[in-house]
């Protein structure tokens, strides 16, 4: 057998491609970590399962180290692996850091929720690490197939995590809805990819023979147009853009709250990562196709998300619609990615928005988890009089809601400002119309964010129970990280503004040079 393989190898004159081990160190650490966590979990007594959460956190922090060292070593020159199909550049590193950080905060948030509920812990963290691995791979993928594999690697564990409360029919329903919609989206996307492959003969995004060079406005065939539209529609499901959003509120409400936080931040950011990679590298010259499509998606997403959020009485459901509408704001600059003036600032705006959105939305969910441990309710009215008995949580909630609404000097304001700036840089009539729609939506969204704040500060405590809340220390740590992040970005925007200045990704796009 071995002789046969080696003779086959000799025949094909095959040698393994050179591998830059440092460049893929974050992925390798995650892979090793997944196996270690799984093995340790097998041999751990039930009473010691809490250690798995700590271990998972350590794995994420360890994977963070090579991200930092790579960032210091990179110096503007991207490191390419596997024929340029897996690239580590500043853009990829910023997003990898974001995914690992979000993963760490979600571990902090889920620890007590899983323990209190008596749910399986070891398997949960293994699945979460798998999902994070998929996201980290997504940031570097520069090939249709590796984008597909990364997307599935991050989604499939998510289907199981949504249905994690096995005995709750609501959680099962959340899981099955997420699963059916997610796989439907993968099917559409894959069909689009097969057409793109057939029309161009390649699956690579960049390079002279890549999709980016071959797909140009004016010479697009029917197959190519269908391919682009289907691929983008597939990712529109992932980021729950209207009209592909129907799964999101149900899944968010039914899934365990830390998982909801994970979906609404990490999965969504991964979907946007793929969209950015595709729009800037694979379709930069096909803006006649994706421009109008993303314009309509962005306008619909922010408007419908906002209008439906107005009438929600459940806080998680309200945050679900709020995250749909925030997705519209993140999508908005991408519609002008192909514009000579707006392209650079569009990339900047999306990356900055994703970073800020991660902090403020995770924070809001952390407050919800902390409060509902006491009130056992998801209704907005259960937050009544929160300031009277948990002033710390009330202030934190104020920070997150105000930031989501876009009030200076918080992070959300800077993110929204950047998004508007990118759209206005395009300087066309359609851009001004989109900016006006977004401005109206900012005002609408303030209504439901401030309704929560009024409940927190003004209303009476609904059941008169004013025993103080003592959140467990992991949740306090999560709150600390997210509050500091939200405020720091708003007060000192240059902290992240440089991250968005991703010359090397933009540099590969001739149009944006």
């Amino acid at each position: 057998m071995i002789g046969m393989i080696s003779s086959l190898l000799a025949q094909a004159d095959w040698s393994s491609p050179p591998i830059d081990w440092h460049a893929i160190a974050p992925e390798l650490i995650l892979v090793i970590g997944i196996n270690v966590v799984l093995l340790i979990d097998l041999n751990l007594a039930e009473s010691k399962k809490w250690m798995i959460a700590t271990l998972t956190g350590i794995v994420m922090l360890l994977a963070f180290i090579p991200v930092v060292t790579l960032g210091l070593e990179l110096d503007g020159v991207p490191r390419e692996l596997f024929d340029g199909r897996y690239v580590i550049d500043e853009y990829a590193l910023v997003l990898k850091a974001l995914f690992l950080l979000v993963g760490y905060v979600v571990v902090l948030m889920s620890q007590n929720a899983l323990e209190d509920g008596g749910y399986y812990q070891g398997e949960f963290y293994v699945l979460m690490l798998c999902s994070i691995l998929g996201m980290v791979m997504m940031a570097s993928s520069r090939d249709l197939i590796s984008i597909f594999v990364a997307l599935e690697l991050l989604s499939i564990p998510g289907y199981m995590m949504a249905a994690w409360k096995k005995r709750s029919s609501v959680s099962n329903e959340a899981g099955v809805k997420y699963y059916l919609m997610g796989v439907f989206a993968s099917g559409i996307m894959l069909f689009g990819m097969s057409y793109l492959y057939g029309a161009t003969g390649t699956t690579a995004l960049t390079g002279e023979e890549g999709l980016g060079a071959l797909l140009t406005d004016g010479s697009l065939s029917g197959l190519e147009v269908i391919g682009i539209v289907f691929v983008l529609a597939g990712f529109a499901f992932k980021i729950s853009a209207v009209p592909f959003h129907s799964w999101a509120p149900d899944t968010y409400e039914g899934a365990p709250t830390p998982v909801t936080a994970f979906f609404s931040v990490a999965s969504k950011a991964a979907g946007f990562t793929a969209l950015m990679t595709l729009v800037f590298l694979a379709f930069p010259n096909a803006s006649d196709v994706y421009g109008p499509m993303l314009w309509v998606l962005a306008a619909l997403t922010m408007t419908v998300g906002n209008v439906l959020a107005l009438r929600q009485t459940n806080i998680v459901r309200m945050l679900a619609y709020s995250s749909i509408s925030q997705g519209g704001f993140i999508l908005m600059p991408l519609a002008y990615a192909g514009d000579v003036d707006a392209g650079g600032s569009a990339l900047n705006a999306v990356v900055v928005y994703l970073l800020v959105y991660a902090f403020m939305n995770l924070g809001a969910f952390a407050v919800v988890i902390a409060v509902s441990r006491k009130t056992q309710s998801g209704e907005i009215s259960s937050f009544g009089g929160l300031f009277n008995y948990a002033p710390g949580l009330a202030v934190a909630m104020t920070v997150f809601m105000a930031s989501l609404a876009g009030i200076p000097p918080l992070g959300g304001w800077f993110a929204k400002f950047n998004a508007f700036k990118a759209v206005l840089d395009a300087d066309t009539t359609s851009a001004y119309v989109l900016a006006c729609i977004a401005a109206v939506n900012t005002v609408i969204s303030a209504a439901y964010y401030f309704r929560v704040l009024r409940t927190v500060w003004v209303d009476d405590v609904p059941d008169g129970n004013t025993a103080p809340i003592n959140p467990p220390s992991p949740i306090i740590a999560a709150l600390g990280i997210t509050v500091i992040g939200t405020i720091a970005v708003g007060v000192y925007p240059r902290l992240v503004a440089g991250f968005g200045n991703l010359s090397d990704l933009a540099g590969t796009v001739p149009l944006l040079g």
């Binding site: 249709l144 597909f148 029919s169 609501v170 099955v176 059916l180 069909f191 990819m193 003969g201 149900d250």
Partner: protein
């Protein structure tokens, strides 16, 4: 004399399969049938990949199919797992029964 099979015939079959899968997913309400519809959609993409790889004389499309097959298998395992846990609680549940969450 039998006419040679053109690559375009495969594409037509594949797009029909895809349309049947997508349509079935939207109109049927038995979760198991919905799973099968999803498989049809994924395999339509596979057929397109293989047909186009053959007509292009390029191996990349055929390797893509292997990835898709593995991913589809993983998806089915997870999907059936979730479905079994639902049907254990509520035998004979249809997609319409899964409507506790709305608004």
């Amino acid at each position: 004399m039998i006419a040679a099979i053109e690559p375009s015939w495969y594409l037509i079959v594949a797009s029909l399969l895809f349309a049947i899968g997508a349509f079935g997913l939207l109109v049927r309400n038995n979760p198991l049938v919905m799973f099968m519809c999803i498989e049809l959609m994924l395999n339509a993409a596979n057929l397109t990949f293989v047909a186009l790889a053959t007509s292009l004389g390029d191996i990349n499309g055929q390797t893509a199919v292997f990835f898709v097959l593995v991913v589809a298998a993983a998806e089915v395992v997870v999907g059936l797992g979730i479905l079994v846990s639902i049907l254990r609680r509520r035998p004979g549940a249809t997609a319409d029964d899964l409507a506790e969450l709305k608004g």
